[in-house]
Amino acid sequence: MSEYQAREFKVLGQRLKRPDGFDKVTGRARYGADVEAAGMLHGRILRSPHAHARIVSIDTSAAEALNGVKAVITRADFPQAAKGYEDIQDNCMAGERALYDGHAVAAVAATSKRIAKQALKLIKVEYEVLPHVTGVEQAIAPGAPIVQPGKVSKRVPEGFSDNVVRYTSFGHGDVEAGFAKADAVIEREYRTEASHQGYIEPHACLATLDEDGRGDLWVCTQGHYFIRDMSCAVLGLESANLRVTASEIGGGFGGKTTVFVEPVALALAKKSGHAVKLVMTREEVLRATGPTVSTYMQVKLGLNKDGIITAAYARLFYQAGAYKQGTADFGAMPAFAPYELENVHTEGLDVITNRPRTASYRAPGAPTACYAAESAIDEACLELGLDPLEVRLKNAAKEGTKSSYGPTYQDHGLIQCLEAVKDTEHWNAPLAANQGRGLAAGFWFNFGGETSVSVFLNTDGSVTVTEANPDIGGSRASISMMVAEEFGINYEQVRTTVTDTGSMGQNEPTHGSRVTFAVGMAAIKASREIKADIQQRLAKMWDVSADQVIWQDGKAHCTDNSKGIEPMSLPEIGAIANNTGGPIGAHHGANMEGAGVAFGVHICDTEVDPETGFVSVKRYTAIQDAGKMIQPDYVEGQLQGGAVQGIGWALNEEYVYGDDGRLQNPGFLDYRIPVASDMPMIDTVIVEVPNPGHPFGVRGVGETPIVPPLAAVGNAVSRATNVRLRHLPMSPPRVLAAIQSA
């Protein structure tokens, strides 16, 4: 069942300006922390200074007595969470134990930020400090302090501590037989440290909640329906009674798909009887939101002299933070996804530690696994003296390949991406001394999910699109473009607005690279319903059958030329809507399955200073299959932004924990994300292999770009130094130590 129909596009492919742009360049756009309410209080959260401690008692009396304090809450103010939401609630406000440095233990609402801050100091918490563990390898060792007892799933192999809570495996064929056929078998261990999404806007919200459980929440989030449903589950509310409005969002990258401060602000609002604004500090963002996994990964790869991968095996330990998660699945599945393999086996093990509960970060789980797999392939290529591009081309998955995680691929553009590498000037350019060039492929599934969109034809012929997915990367523009394309009108005649949970049916968040694909498809389908309605109306008016009314170049035409009927434009049709049946509009709500996978290939040149171990990225090219580009600037922007995030993860970004289990670098000075002077221009090559599951061939593009960079940079640094680096980030001390020990 193919949704896609090849056609000429008029609006798609143009570099049009985003409708929210004017407000964003003038400072008018309203983000999470940019609103106020009458009588508003300021909330603030008290956090555990211990990595692991039993909360013996909390005395809030002195804080409550402080002039200006209107409410103090602890876990005792929360009801029993709905089934399945216990961990989310516990992460928002600790129960019996604080499980990581930064875990919320109490919160206050006061008439000013200063009083709220002062009140936190008056809350007396008695802790019984417990043994802790923050490192993944320490956590899996038998005898390690157990973070949460009783969480081990069936099927976890023996020999580990009870912090190894989940096990999963994928693959087909016989890897041992495959290794026996290889000319080179390499067996390596790779490690990566936790990174953070690093969105520049800290979490922020403004909440009201009355005694009857009716409330409003303004919040910066990727998904206000998720925020609503989670807040309701944690606080015992009904979804219809909590209206959540998404602000403009200052970055998310997966980190704003769950609740942290929102239920706390709502609980404070209820207890105080006032609106409560709660804004995280940067330190809180880094200590107490959801960073990524850190990993310990074992890989074994067999390659023969012809460049065929005879077998591939990986065992991935993913440090998930203090609560059980399934991220290792999303390492084990995509690790070898770019390749057609006879024998492949991957295992994922989720490990809990005394660290913040990890959240999604752009293709969650994939970048680290692909780092290990693509590094091992590079090592095998070097060992046999083979060209890394040729080896990838020889083994590349095609349409009809059985993937390493099971399903057979439909049409996709990996081969085209790899072929495009050959054609770049970059791949063929010479390298200078101390420079190395790395290549890596990457994959992400993408998905669609529940989606609701309404489209209205206004009486003047302009078109209103109402959807409910926070726009991070320009989706209002791309959705308007798709609707304009469908009606055959100009982009400027369509305006897309993101609305609140009280005005639109359920939507999955802006995640999974889904919005342009899924919301776009729903908007196209709603537009088609409107066109069908118009056909019916005009057929009555023109006294012809509906199939004699066709849509062409933005106008309805009558195919019966004998009638001499002039085509009608949208303004003409809109003007008589009330005469032909009333307002014209359509709502399309559907589960938008059918997202197409997205492959990318990145090339990176680095130069390494042998004296200091400092790595500079000299040149970078990101290549990806986008299916069909709607607005090329925004596709390029996703590739460039994802690549630079991956470069940061590879070179600088790292959660550093002390022996005391406390995060040592909770600020942008010491948790250093790439700055402009660190980076070169990021060149992009976009391949377009239409996704059969979308009317215009669109594939999600947002997540894949962060998958290849870790390995592309790693391979480049290793080739520049002739020393294999197997631990990210490759910060100068690590690189220098590797050079000196070689």
């Binding site: 964003k24 360049v25 969105y199 403009e248 970055g251 998310g252 600037d633 922007g637 942008f668 002077s677």
Partner: protein, 160 residues
Amino acid sequence: MSSTHVSTKINGQAVEYVCPNDASLLEVLRDQLGMTGTKEGCGSGDCGACSVTVDGRLVCSCLVLGVEAQGRAVETIEGMANKNQLHKLQEKFLEKAALQCGICTPGVLIAARSLLEKNPDPTEQEVRYWIAGNLCRCTGYDKIVRAILESAKELREEAA
């Protein structure tokens, strides 16, 4: 905490406020004056989202006290466009898609304007080092740097 009466000029307009002595200029702008175009990303001078100029000097407003604005001229993002006539940099940022989420954009624009006032013909490297104090997590900086370079070129051409 005692407070101080401050007379200053913001975006060319005389403004008076009373602020606690320990309040940052950022806090005054956002919380007291409702000028939320200037953003807070870190509160420690590391991200540049709160960039403004004070007497023409580019600063992080989270590291400047509200009382320090006494007798000075503060410029914020709200004053960059002339009514609805965007500054060249603002226009170019829209045209070149130099923003995604937009939270860093006010700070980057203020910093970029400050650069072009001092150096109308910067190299790519000069642009990159000048805005190195403005973190952007969405764009990878490519389109931002291009937009600034192109703005500079057009401004030079217009001045010539």
